[in-house]
Symmetry: C2
Amino acid sequence: MTLEKVLSTIDDNLPAATERLMELLRIPSISTDPAFHDACEAAADWLVKDLASLGVEARKYPTPGKSMVVGHVGDRGPHLMFYGHYDVQPVDPLDLWERDPFDPEVQDGPDGPVIRGRGAADDKGQLMTFVEACRAWKAVHGSLPCRLTFFFEGEEESGSPSLIPFLKEHADMLRADLCLICDTGLFDAQTPAITTMLRGLLGEEIIITGPNKDLHSGLFGGAAINPVHVLTRILAGLRDEMGRITVPGFYDGVPELPKDIQAQWEQLGFDAAEFLGSVGLSVPAGEAGRSALEMVWSRPTCEINGIIGGYTGDGFKTVLPSKASAKVSFRLVGTQDPHALRKAFREQVRAGVPADCTVEFKEHGNAPASVMPTDDPAFEKARLALSDEWPRPAAFIGSGGSIPIAGYFQDILGVDSMLIGFGLDDDQIHSPNEKYNMSSFHKGTRSWARILAALT
Amino acid sequence: MTLEKVLSTIDDNLPAATERLMELLRIPSISTDPAFHDACEAAADWLVKDLASLGVEARKYPTPGKSMVVGHVGDRGPHLMFYGHYDVQPVDPLDLWERDPFDPEVQDGPDGPVIRGRGAADDKGQLMTFVEACRAWKAVHGSLPCRLTFFFEGEEESGSPSLIPFLKEHADMLRADLCLICDTGLFDAQTPAITTMLRGLLGEEIIITGPNKDLHSGLFGGAAINPVHVLTRILAGLRDEMGRITVPGFYDGVPELPKDIQAQWEQLGFDAAEFLGSVGLSVPAGEAGRSALEMVWSRPTCEINGIIGGYTGDGFKTVLPSKASAKVSFRLVGTQDPHALRKAFREQVRAGVPADCTVEFKEHGNAPASVMPTDDPAFEKARLALSDEWPRPAAFIGSGGSIPIAGYFQDILGVDSMLIGFGLDDDQIHSPNEKYNMSSFHKGTRSWARILAALT
C-alpha cells in the first residue's frame, strides 16, 4: 500500500515539517501595511525555494501589489491547481498577544499541542499541509501524482486588488481541471468538511436626506419630515412577519436544499443551542421554520450592518436631523443575481421615500453565491478520503461567509473549486494569539495525501 | 394722557437706554464656562445697581451656582413679577463673529439699526425693555405703577441648576399675581405675540441588546437576531399611516384648538411654504390633515433624535451588531401626562422586543406642557396693549419648544406666566453675530409701558 507509505512518511517527518512551517511563520508578511512589503516578498521567495525543492518549476510574478507565486510540475493525469495565501493579518492589538506574533512556538493546549503565531491557521499552516503532502508523496514515489499548479497569493488579507487582473492575464497558465483551496475549516475537531456552498454578498448604503440642515425638534418637530423615521420604516419593511425578505424577486434562484445534503447535515449533530448560546442567544432568527444551520449555510439573508442619524453622544439633544443612513447587506445563495437584486432593492427603497426626502445609494460590493458541482465524482472521492482520515465522516457543508476566490476561479478560469481546510473555530484567526492545532497540521497533511491518491 | 408721556419719554431716552444696554452687554456673563464666573457676578451687580436707581430694593442671592437678583418695589395694585436672565450663551466659534462679541455696536441693518453683540437678544436686551419701561414710568409718575418683583437669573443658558431649590426656598418672597417673562419672540416683525401654549417634553433612550458581542454577519447572519432590525421595527411602529402616534393613551389630554385661537392663527398669515421652504422642505409632516402651524404649536409629536448601531464609518463591515440604540422625544401638549406616557411607551417598546433581546431605557427628562389661562382678563388686556403698539394685532400663539420656567412658576409658586418678547427669527441667538433690532428694543420698551398701563 503506497498510500500507507506516504502517510507514515508524513508521520515520521512531522517534526521537520513543523520546523519548515515555523520558518515561514517567522516572516512577518502583513500585506495591509506597506512597512511589511519586503517581508511579503521574502515569504514569496521562501515558497518559491520550497517548491523548487519538490521539483516544482516555480517563480514570483510581480504585480502592482504583492507578488504571486506560481509553480508547475508534471504532465500526466488530471490537472489540479492548489491555492493558498502567504500574507497574514495585522497583529494589532499587540499587547493582547502572549508572545511575539512572529516568534512562533509549539505549545501544549487543552486539546493537544498547538502551533501559535500569526498566520499559523490563516493561511500558512493550511497552505503547508498541501505542500508537505506533496513532499511525502515525492519521497515515496519519486514524483508527484499528477499535473499540479501551485498558486499562492500575497494579498488575500488586503482585498486581493491584483487578483482579478492576474487571473485574466494568466488564465491559460492557471487553468486546471479542478482547484483545491485550503483556507476553510473542519466542521468540528472530529468532522472534516468540504465547503460546497458559499454565500454571495450584496452590500448597499442608503443615505436619506430630509431638511437641508439639522433642525430644532421644538421649532420644527411635527411639521418637518424626520429622515430617521423614513429610514426606520423602510428598513423595518425589508422583512415580513415570517422573517422573509420582501424585496420583489428576492427568492428567485434560491434552491431548496438537496435531500442528500440535508441528510448529511442532520448527521453532523450541529448543536444550534450551543451555537447560539455561545453568543448569548437561544432562538434562531430569520425565516420561520428554518433551522439555524440552514439559515447560515443555505438561506439568503438581509442584515442591517450599521445605522446612524441625529445625535448619538451622551445625554440628549432635541435635534431633528437632516440625514440618516444605513448599511445593509444581503447574503446570497443559489443563482440569486446580485445586480437584479440591487435594482429591486433600490426600487423598493425609493418607493418608501416620501416627496420631501431624497435618497442616495452607495454600492459596497456584489458577488453571487458559489455552488460547487458536488455531482462531479471528485467531490465524493475527496469526501470518502477525508472520512478515512478523521473520526467522523466528512460532509458537504455550506459557509455563511463569502470567499470570493472560488467565484473568480469559476468566472475567469472556468474552474470549479473544492474547499477543504482544517481550521477550527477557536483558532483566533484575525485576532491575537492565533494558533493552528498540531492535529490540524498533521491530519490535514495526511488528508491531502489521501485526497491526491483518490483523485489520481 | 400720561401713557403718551411715558411713551414719549421712552422715545427721548432711547440713546441713553441703548448706552445702558451696551454697558450690560460688555460684561461677558457666560454661565456655562467657570472662567466667566466673576463676569456673571458683575452682571448681577450691575443689575442690582440699576434697579436701585429706580428705587427698587434689590440684592443678589447667592446660590451654589450664579447669584439670583431679586428686587421689590411698591405696595399697591396688582403684584407683578418680571423674569429675565442675565447670563448669555458661549461665543464659540469665535472666528465666525465679525467683531468681539462683548464689544457691542449699533449697526445699520437691512431692516433698520440693530444692536450687535452676545446677549443683545438673549436675554439682556429683552430684560432691559422692561427695566427701561419702568424707568420712563417713574420719570413721568414719580413711582412705579404697582407692586413689582424683579427676578433675574444667571443660569438660564446652563440648565438652571439652582432655580428649583431657589424657588422652593423663596416661594413666599417671589409669589405674585402674575409673572411677565420676556424671553420669547414676535410672531414676525409686524406682529406681536403672547406665547400661551408651550409644549412639554418627554425624552427617552432605548438600548436594545441581542448577541452578547458583535458578530460576523457571514457566520451568524440569518441565525442570530439583529438588534438594529428589532429597533427599526419598534421605531417604525411608533406612528401609523396617518402620522398618528401609536402609544396607547397618547392622545389623552390633547385638546382641539379653541375656535378663537384658531381664528387668530389664521389671521397671522403664516406662510407654511416659506417656513418649510427655508429648510428645503415643502410638505407638512406629522398627522394627516393638520397644518404645519398646528403641528408645531398645538399638536404632540414623536421624533427620533438619534439612532446608532453597528458599523457607521466609511466603507463597509459585515458586522451583526450586539447593540442598537435610539433617542426618542415626545413634545407634549394640553394635559398629556409625561409619567403615564413614559410608562405606556416603555410597555409598547417591551412588547416589540423578542425573546432573545433585552431592552434598557434611559430617562432624559420630562415636563408637561404649559397652557396659560387666556381667559384671565389680563391676557386680553395685554394683547390689546400690544396691538396698539405694533402694525398688526397681537395673537396668542403656541411655541414648539419647551420653556420650563413657566411650568416651574406654575408648579412651585402657583403663579401663571405671560410670555411676551420681541425677538425675531434672524436674531442669531446661540450663534455668532447675535443681534437685537433697535425696533425690538424701542417698541418692546414701549410695549411694556402700554401693558403696565393696561394691567394696573
